[in-house]
């Protein structure tokens, strides 16, 4: 991950008013991911109708497609590195539309489609629910208080410390210094010591405000779903089940082809 990627969090800056509960979005996205990965590696066409979920929720919550794609391409290399070997080791050919294509390529495309769909749905969920919203719903669902506080604090201090690291690097480069491995102590050491001092100040400030070990305590009724949430949840769960157990793209395609011809 590069330094500049951290500043690409603009799509998460404000909670988009989707009016959907963060808990519902978290559950639906988890169900979506499990549905997508449960398909066999050669079932490329069967997975495609599932792209409807990120497309719909992304459009509904107004997430920029360009920002999403930029984020996804940053982490794509590792998946490509693992998937690209499939065409070399799985050379059995299959015929599609008169073209013979190896099953290795089919499994590679299926892996890439799965990766794009899952990554998009996760990023859209965070954008639509907001990080704070997700932490609150997780706390209300019973996530340990220590971890919830840790997530809140990390989210708050990331930008601050990254900004400091950025300034240290810039100052060093402007003065002709190099960022080599032997300088790791001189570059990161002072930053670490400043971070420790900063944490003492934060701790004292928290104590002044009556901090008792948790920044936010979850209330169970926070995760209560509205009627709109329930309808949304039922619709998409049913859709995932239908796509999982029936080949709906083929059924709709058959129907259309028969009507047209």
């Amino acid at each position: 991950m590069r330094l500049r990627d951290l500043y690409r969090t603009e799509i998460y800056d404000e909670r988009r008013e989707t009016a959907l509960s963060p808990m519902l979005l978290l559950c639906l996205t988890s169900a979506y991911i499990i549905t997508v990965v449960s398909f066999d590696r050669y079932q490329t066409l069967r997975i495609i109708p599932l792209a409807a979920y990120p497309i719909f929720v992304g459009l509904f919550s107004g997430v920029s497609g360009r920002d999403l794609f930029r984020k996804m391409t940053a982490v794509m290399p590792f998946v490509i590195l693992i998937g690209i070997w499939n065409p070399f080791f799985d050379r059995i050919g299959t015929e599609h539309l008169g073209i013979i294509i190896s099953r290795g390529w089919i499994s590679f495309f299926s892996l890439m489609i799965k990766f794009l769909m899952i990554t998009a749905s996760t990023l859209i969920m965070v954008s639509a629910a907001g990080f704070d919203g997700l932490c609150r719903c997780a706390a209300a669902a019973g996530l340990p208080e220590v971890l919830v506080t840790q997530l809140f604090l990390l989210n708050r201090y990331i930008r601050l410390i990254v900004e400091e690291a950025h300034n240290t690097l810039r100052a060093r480069v402007f003065r002709g210094g190099k960022i080599t491995l032997s300088n790791a102590g001189n570059v990161c050491g002072p930053l670490l010591m400043r971070s420790v001092s900063r944490s003492e100040k934060i701790h004292n400030a928290l104590l002044c405000r009556g901090f008792d070990g948790a920044l936010w305590r979850g209330k169970r009724d926070m995760n209560r779903l509205s009627r709109q949430d329930i309808i949304f949840g039922i619709f998409w769960t049913a859709y995932f089940l239908v796509v999982r157990f029936f080949d709906i793209s083929r059924a709709i395609g058959d129907l259309t082809v028969r009507c047209v011809i």
Partner: protein, 330 residues
């Protein structure tokens, strides 16, 4: 080394989610009881520090490549294993949710690979033991490099294990392992060196920071949990090594030896036939072991599939835009 959701199957993802959730619950309980002064704020800020410092890539002279500090090990040295593990959980969660580095289903795998091994195995059993025997910067340097290499190799081994058990890649296990382990050995050495440089810098100027974090007596419950997971990891690793070496499939080999045939006949009961028809419905290519053949897909099936997919997605775009406009009007 982040596993993506697309690389794990629900069973493997679920298994490592359970293991990581258990370790997180145990660590949270231990952190709550250790009464470390200012520990909460320190954890938050140090996690942010690791996040920031991992973005600084130090060039390695003469190689053209670069490396950064090892997060898990550094946090374990400063905070102790339990708090370091919790910090790693938070870092990996933020990476998965904000940066698409990893994913929700693979989060359990990533926490296990990058949190459990450096915090609970490499730090207490390698780094701490070496620094107890060898004083000063020499001990820190050798301890950090050895612990970092060991932690990363264990993590990389589990990446291979999780990907292979998920049946995502057609890459033979031996080749995959030969691709991953040497690379991670080198990365581990570089990360260990960079981490040691930072620790030596702090050791010279602020030694109390290094002693403040690690409680001397870890809770018995936590010790037991770590011991159980270490044994399980060893057993899984041992089984996997055997599985990988017995070509092509260890389970089939053992079935052949026991029954004389490669596949067992399922008893024909109502439940079995129901489950078998359900399995056929779920996995249209249930046994992809046919070799040297070319399948011919029905052209009509492929055309229908493509047409159907286009119609479904167009409908989703249309509905999304319609609901979005309606919401804006409201």
């Amino acid at each position: 080394m982040h596993m993506a959701d697309a690389l794990v199957s629900p069973a493997v993802g679920g298994l490592f989610w359970a293991a990581s959730a258990f370790l997180t619950a145990k660590s949270s309980a231990a952190a709550k009881n250790d009464n470390m002064s200012g520990g909460t704020a320190l954890m938050g800020v140090l996690a942010a520090f690791v996040f920031a410092s991992q973005m600084i890539n130090f060039s390695i002279p003469g190689t053209g490549s670069s490396g950064h500090i090892g997060g898990g090990l550094l946090l374990a040295i400063l905070l102790g294993p339990e708090r370091a593990f919790l910090s790693m959980v938070s870092i990996l969660t933020v990476q998965a949710l904000f940066f698409a580095d990893g994913g929700l289903l693979a989060l359990g795998c990533n926490i296990f690979n990058m949190g459990f091994f450096p915090c609970f195995i490499a730090y207490p059993h390698i780094y701490k033991r070496i620094t107890e025997r060898v004083d000063g910067p020499k001990g820190i340097m050798s301890g950090a490099i050895s612990a970092s290499v060991a932690g990363l190799l264990m993590g990389a081994f589990f990446v291979v294990l999780q990907t292979t058990l998920s049946r995502i890649t057609a890459l033979p296990v031996g080749v995959f392992m030969m691709m991953m382990l040497p690379v991670h050995f080198a990365i581990g050495a570089v990360e260990g060196f960079a981490t040691a440089m930072v620790i030596i810098y702090v050791y010279a100027r602020m030694p109390e920071v290094l002693n403040g974090g690690s409680p001397d007596k870890p809770e018995n419950g936590m010790k037991r949990a770590v011991a159980v997971f270490s044994v399980l990891a060893l057993l899984t690793g041992g089984f996997f090594a055997w599985y990988a070496s017995s070509s092509p499939d260890g389970l089939e080999w053992s079935i052949v030896n026991v029954t004389g045939t490669a596949e067992l006949d399922a008893p024909q009961t109502l439940i079995h036939s129901l489950l078998s028809s359900l399995q056929d419905m779920i996995a249209p290519l249930p046994d992809y072991s046919i070799k040297g053949e070319t399948y011919s897909e029905n052209m009509g099936t492929t055309v229908s599939g493509i047409v159907g997919s286009i119609i479904t997605l167009t409908f989703a775009v249309f509905m999304g835009m319609m609901f979005s406009k309606r919401k804006n009007r409201q």
